[in-house]
């Protein structure tokens, strides 16, 4: 049977634990459960971290190294926590899950993951509404829409309905 929009065989879910991404997780898990599809979970560490030492020049190498190690460990810890949470939920529902973790621009990473895993459907959360705190590292929907070879579902951010009931 050919995969369709509502009965995909493989869903690529981009998630990083924000409310918008969690809404996309829930929708993807529900769809995968219903369509007996597998999920490819993509976790992206945004590349703005590369410039996060900014113009620090006063510290010595020991301090800079300590900061780099600390930040790397923290980002890794956050990534593991999120991936384990989604993977645990998928396991509980009996959904097969493959995990991809990448470092780079979120939309470029998503396109790269799509090229590698060939999903039938991509699901992401909508950007958070203005004024809601969080990293400023959004997917660029236009570049995704131009380049994606498969359908894209953008799940509404639950905070949007709270702001505009």
């Amino acid at each position: 049977m050919n995969a369709t929009l509502l009965s995909p065989r493989r869903i690529l879910l981009a998630s990083h634990g924000t409310p918008g991404a969690r809404a996309a997780e829930e929708a993807a898990l529900a769809l995968a459960e219903e369509a007996a599809a597998a999920i490819v979970l993509l976790y992206v560490v945004p590349d703005f971290w590369r410039g996060m030492r900014g113009d620090d020049w006063l510290n010595n190498v020991v301090t800079q190294q300590a900061f780099g190690d600390y930040l790397e460990n923290e980002l890794l810890r956050e990534a593991r926590k999120e991936v384990r949470r989604v993977a645990g939920e998928a396991e509980r529902r009996g959904i097969a899950m493959e995990i991809r973790a990448m470092f780079g621009r979120p939309d470029a990473c998503l396109l790269s993951a799509v090229a590698e895993t060939n999903p039938d459907l991509v699901m992401i959360g909508a950007p958070r509404p203005k004024g809601v705190p969080g990293y400023r590292s959004r997917m660029k929907p236009e570049s995704l829409m131009r380049a994606l070879p498969c359908p894209l579902i953008v799940v509404p951010n639950p905070l949007a309905s709270q702001k505009n009931p």
Partner: protein, 520 residues
């Protein structure tokens, strides 16, 4: 991993430098240099053009055609491309772009008193260099072959600060040291305390309050980097804090010189204000050089403040560590010695060493203390002209009333048309800095001072090297400021940072205008 890229860029950059050296040396660019009023850079264009040209061509040929294997030679050799890349950007701006901006700005006419637009906005080679760095990294990006070497900008700045140690006299260092300890002590401790208070009032997590207070209080990104692991800051808190500080720092670097020009602040006042009010230490140096691009007095003051700030860093980190441990359960005990030792800025020792060496007179003959010496045995052409003496005479009574302590030295200058003693020279300099007299008269005081005060050759060279090292370092640091990082500014840190940053900048300005005078 092999770091060297087989790329012709370094060879080409070496060729460009060599070409500049040859063209300027043979006089082929004389017309352009005259149009740009860039004659003062002519010597530098030749010797620096030849040196960097040869380095670029030799290393460029090795990068392109040599064999590269993993190891120290490859690692350190690969940095040459980035270093020459920064120098090319910085020097093209210093020699050609900034002078051209000045020509355009002068064509518009004065915009604030006698000052032109580029002077008011501080658009000189330093600010334009930082801007160019920011534009490059956020548009085309720093090329892969240059990335390893661009990091050398930090070494350039540290070396610049170390060499700066040669330019202070003991009296200057004592006065500036006292002033900076008082101001920095008050404002650093005050802003750290204010952030801790605001954090508690707004219900921020201890980790966020801790990292933000270090960044806002001490030396911006550097303090954030030092304090983050100690207060166990979360990545999002680090991103918010660094974004906020970079946004503020870059904004202040442009804003401070404009305000300084509007208020007609003296070099000591502006250096002290930049050193206290600007959050991020890199932008302190940028603002100081933006305010006084052709001299080093403002930078000297600002850097003493920077050094004092960085000496406060281990103490603040220790304070935050103890503060954090007290509030969070399950934290390890703080190793006081380890915190102090690890966070101590070793390059400050280099600064002290150079100051000590310079004080022995090693860089200048013993009678030329600090490389500057007094000698009023000057030719007739350097004496004040009768019409110039008349200008000073006309304002003599004004000085007698406002600052009678300067009047005898001014009287002797009027009588002899030159400064008569070392003590008179100090008083005339103080009178000039006090800005009691008109601009025209102040210019004459400066002229009289310059006629009798001479700088030792080695010290002159140090000044030139310091300027070049700061231009190199700041342009390179500009290449490491990404908009993606600045965009992370937001959340509570932006609110708290905005309040504390504004309070610190405004309060320190008021205190400096009221209590700091140009007598150092």
């Amino acid at each position: 991993m092999v770091y060297t890229h087989k790329h012709p860029a370094l060879l080409i950059m070496g060729g460009i430098f060599l070409l500049i050296g040859i063209l300027v040396g043979t006089g082929a660019l004389d017309g352009l240099i005259a149009y740009l009023h860039a004659g003062k850079y002519k010597g530098e264009m030749i010797w620096l053009g030849y040196i960097l040209g040869v380095i670029g061509i030799v290393f460029g040929a090795w990068h392109l055609w040599g064999r590269h294997e993993e190891g120290d030679l490859d690692y350190y050799g690969s940095t040459v491309a980035g270093a020459i890349f920064i120098m090319l950007v910085a020097m093209i701006i210093r020699w050609f772009v900034a002078p051209y901006v000045a020509v355009l700005s002068k064509a518009l006419g004065p915009v604030m008193g006698a000052k032109y637009l580029h002077q008011v906005l501080g658009l000189n080679y330093v600010v334009l260099g930082i801007l160019a760095g920011i534009i490059i990294t956020n548009t085309i990006g720093v090329p892969m072959w240059a990335r390893n070497g661009v990091r050398l900008s930090r070494l350039g700045l540290k070396t610049g600060v170390i060499l700066l140690g040669t330019l202070y006299s003991l009296a200057e260092l004592q006065q500036l040291g006292k002033l900076s300890v008082v101001l920095i002590g008050f404002f650093v401790l005050g802003s750290v305390g204010l952030v801790l208070l605001l954090g508690r009032l707004r219900g921020l997590p201890n980790s966020m309050t801790g990292v933000l207070s270090a960044g806002m209080g001490v030396c911006g990104v550097s303090a954030t980097v030092a304090a983050s692991p100690v207060v166990k800051a979360k990545p999002v808190e680090i991103a918010y804090t660094i974004g906020t500080i970079l946004l503020w720092g870059v904004g202040c670097m442009f804003l401070f010189p404009i305000i300084g020009n509007m208020l007609d602040m003296g070099y000591v006042q502006f250096g002290a204000w930049a050193g206290t009010g600007i959050l991020n230490s890199a932008q302190v140096a940028g603002a100081a050089l933006a305010y006084q691009p052709d001299g080093i007095e403002t930078l000297k003051v600002a850097e003493i403040f920077n050094i004092t700030r960085v000496l406060f860093l281990p103490i603040i980190v220790l304070w935050l560590a103890l503060w954090f441990v007290k509030r969070e359960e399950g934290n390890e005990r703080v190793n006081v010695f380890q915190v102090i030792f690890q966070k101590f800025p070793i390059f400050v020792l280099g600064f002290i060493l150079m100051f000590a060496l310079s004080s022995t007179g090693i860089f200048a003959p013993p009678q030329h203390y600090k490389g500057k010496y007094f000698d009023n045995n000057i030719p007739e052409s350097k004496l004040l002209k009768p019409e110039e003496v008349a200008v000073l005479k006309a304002e003599f009574d004004k000085v007698k009333q406002a600052k009678p302590e300067y009047a005898p030295a001014l009287q002797r200058l009027i009588e002899n048309r030159k400064i008569m003693s070392r003590e008179d020279d100090a008083l005339i300099r103080g009178l000039n800095n006090a800005k009691i007299m008109s601009k025209k008269a102040n210019k004459l005081l400066k002229k009289a001072h310059k006629a009798v005060r001479h700088t030792a050759k080695k010290i002159k060279k140090f000044r030139q090297w310091i300027t070049l090292l700061f231009a190199f370092g700041l342009t390179g640091l500009g290449m490491q400021i990404t908009m993606a990082a600045i965009r992370q500014a937001g959340g509570q840190p932006l609110v708290v940072g905005g309040i504390v940053g504004t309070v610190k900048a405004v309060l320190s300005l008021i205190v400096i205008l009221l209590f700091v005078h140009e007598t150092i």
